[in-house]
Amino acid sequence: MDWITTVDHKKIAVLYLWAGGLFFGIGGFEALLIRWQLIKPMNNFLDAQTFNELITMHGTTMIFLGVMPIIFALMNAVIPLQIGARDVAFPFLNALGFWTFLFGGLLLNLSWVMGGAPDAGWTAYTPLSSTTYSTTHGVDFYTIGLQIAGLGTLIGGINFLATIITMRAPGMSFMRMPMFAWTTFITSAIILFAFPAITVGLVLLTFDRILGANFFVVGGGGSPVLWQHIFWIFGHPEVYILILPAFGIISEVIPTFSRKRLFGYSSMVFATILIAFLGFMVWAHHMFTTGLGPVANALFSVSTMLIAVPTGIKIFNWLFTMWGGQVRFPTANLFAVGFIPTFTMGGVTGVMLASAPADFQFHDTYFVVAHFHYVIVGGLVLGLFAGLHYWWPKMFGRMLSERLGKWTFWTFILGFHLTFFLQHFLGLMGMQRRVFTYLPNQQFDLLNLVSTIGAGLMGVGMIIFLVNIYLTSRRPADAAADPWEDGRTLEWTIPSPPPEYNFKQTPLVRGIDAFWKEKTAGHKAMTPAEPVGSIHMPSATILPFLMSVGIFIAGLGFMFSRDEFRSPLTGFLFNNYVVTAIGLLITFGSMLARSLFDDQGWHIEPEELEGR
């Protein structure tokens, strides 16, 4: 119950972590099934339809329900601490964002047991995703599930923007903000601009499917290419929503374990902003073969290549942060240092893909599969691992086992390269992606076999990580406030795990890497910016949970509103939008309750603060 009603950013972070972990596990399991099917030519372990459902759900789950929530988990756990705040700007909305994400994700995954998962690829290109060619409710689960989950992301993004703009500790100017806070800020801005596009796209597709509209139907004057534009205007920035937080994490972990400040801080900030900006200008590089014509292809080619410049700045800055430092390699830093060459390899193939005439060959082949896994897994997932190992003691008060951590790192990264490096060659040798099997004698057999073995090894790495978490959770919570001893930012100035109110007194920030600055000045703690006083806390509430349950019910009701039911009662309830109405009633009822009953929250008094 405590967990359902909480509005504390630290608990919401844990909720995001478990929910994201669950979906990541589901997506990973789906990946292993896919790889098992491809282990040899003409395999019949899975049938074609199931395979298409698996790739669709694997992609969708990983992107929207797997890694995004884990990013949000770290942001929630760390950002208020890093900027010296007591919570996010809107704790109630924070909880709402989590619950809508969770219920959206659950709705999407319900499709497995309710008559067919989506099967048109995570990009859901029309007309394949229209009711004519995708006849189950699969794609409805996709549009409505993602719509609900996306609502949560948008809420979260806005919340972080507000938090970072308004709640930084005294003295923390933007140019003194830790890099992870910066990338969170920029990421949230991208979310703010990119998610409305997919929201609109999903609404249009829902209308096409459920209400018989014609936005993407050629016969009715619509255009399938329009869907691709809408999807990628969201979809490309989405890639930066994923990778920028990883950049932020790496920029925190490497300086800490090199005992040096980040090299070229201001150029890092500038590069982040530039990447975000360019990220919006390049969506059509996913559509070179759609037939946009040479002018568009040339423009989008060149603008895409330009992204290599700010990305390069970042990579060299990280390397030169270590230069002249004293580099230690606990697991967190292993992942961070492993990130650099791995991500660079993904970036490099990205530039190759940007060259449109070459992309005519790369597009929709295993070369692309290799590229985006290098960026997403070799970049983001390694970054998340670095971040999780780094902040685990702060979040849970316990140090993860270093020995198991090193095993996780080596099995995972070896498995990763084994799986995906060879896929570049598979693509170049003529293997297209999203194929449920392939004919023998095309020289694809051996490479696919090795690739599957690598995927198994990555699975082993994940299991070791889970074992590590389990064993750690049974040990006493005795992590020091600054367990890595070289912590540079504000989160390391308070106990691990932090008290409910984070900072007894808001700290005064006197420079970049505020804590490090105090330490080198010989101080043990931050100088407070205020006297000890009564702290105002928001009340726990079940309303965000109820609101999300309502949306979930409404979504289900709407989805089945055109179906024929055997039982007349169910038929009546669904076909007359009664179920939808009940769901919306719950949601709007909760909203009404929220606005009518003014909740003042509660206070932690100074005596209590001193008492602990």
Partner: protein, 349 residues
Amino acid sequence: MRITGQAVKRLLPVTVFCGFLLAGCGREDLSVLRPQGPAAESSFGLMKLSISIMIVVLLIVFSIAAYVIIRFRRKAGQNEIPEQIEGSFKLEVLWTVIPLILVIVLAIPTVKAVFAAGDDHANDKDAIKVKVTGHQYWWEFEYTDYGITTAQDLIIPAGKDIAFELTTTDVLHSFWVPSLSGKMDTNPDGTTNRFSFSAPNEGVYRGKCAELCGPSHGFMEFKVKSVSEEAFQEWLGKMKAPVAVLPEDPALAEKFRAQCLSCHAVGDQNDIGRGPNLTGIGSRESVAGILLNDETGVEGASVEENLKTWLRDPESVKPGNRMPNPKDLGLSDTEIDGIAEYLANYKLD
């Protein structure tokens, strides 16, 4: 910059090695790395250029990474605080400008090639015009200047430019012959695509559908058969001969006409185009695009065997395809075998 010097020295053999590696990669009739025509050559040229630049970048990054990891590892008892360097304007400008130059080096030939690839030969009198139509899950090829239609095997004269017009009757597909050219999507009417390629060398090339189009997307293959000019003219002549060859047995012929020709066409018989045109199917490279015809049985089976496999249960060959099972159309096993035999012998050469 001692490190970059090293990298450059190491680079040469690596590039040469990669060149060999790439050239040995994959089948000649299928691999992007073994281009057999100018369009694929052009893509491959850009790929070689970009990979060379990128290998230089990778080597620099890897060398610096290796150097700092080894050189600046924290040693036991090392406790003095390292100097907290803010950054270096010169260095940061350096790694902004160098990538920018590399990008320009790649961007110029890219833009050139983009415009060259935009040349579709649609108005070229010498080019052969072919309208390609994607269907779930087969390919239709209409030679608009000659009024003939075929399926699965695209016959082209070696060395001639082929001007394609691409479209689809159902979902999106993508037309791709890796060793001859990059891919192009088949969109529905209104956004019809055009492009062109040529195959200087005679031979059979494997083509694929590259856009997810349903369960049998992976099986939506086809062959491009590049033949001499004379052979091409001869083939055209036979395709244009109006009379269809029908089964000799009148009863079987009637069955065939009633059940099969409601979707398919042979010669002048029927022209609906709901299923692949079957004229001369006995001399094609494959049945259904994926059952390879090979009398020796090394890479497939004989045409007749393949036809039997297909006709006995199309669904098991290509899941989700739109042809009804002949048994459900009322054909007995002997009739199916009879039709398979007839089709296998319906050759153009």
